[in-house]
Chain length 79, copies 2
């Protein structure tokens, strides 16, 4: 089963990578760009064939590895 995990920084957490991109866009002449926030999308194949089991497993993966739950939120999509 295919799963997709969206990992984004929690609101209020500074995004240095986003800031760097914003500055670079300005340097390239793209004026008026507001806040830039960068997240991850992780696509993976899991062996489970049952949707609920697959979702629970992927959530466990998020808690243990895929997301830093102190500063990041994650959302799991089972395709």
């Amino acid at each position: 089963m295919k799963a997709r995990v969206h990992v984004t920084l929690k609101t209020g957490v500074l995004d240095p990578q986003g800031e760097a991109v914003r500055h670079s866009l300005g340097a390239l002449g793209f004026e008026g760009v507001g806040e830039v926030r960068i997240g991850k999308v992780i696509e993976l194949e899991v062996a489970e064939t049952d949707r609920a089991a697959a979702e629970a497993r992927v959530r466990e993966m998020c808690e243990k590895l895929l997301a830093n739950t102190v500063i990041e939120n994650y959302a799991v999509e089972i395709a």
Copy 2:
């Protein structure tokens, strides 16, 4: 206007980051994980108020900075 850019590796391009995550998941006891692919989601505010103009501008940003078009695909969403 808020825009969201999805940047993913083109099919066939090796994803070392994804491979590293797959190995780490295995080491944490998550067996049976197939291919892992990692992409980026970039959320940004643009000054344009017209949708078409905003999309064209963000596409230009992708071509120049946000995506490496040799190995990456990008998709633009205007919220």
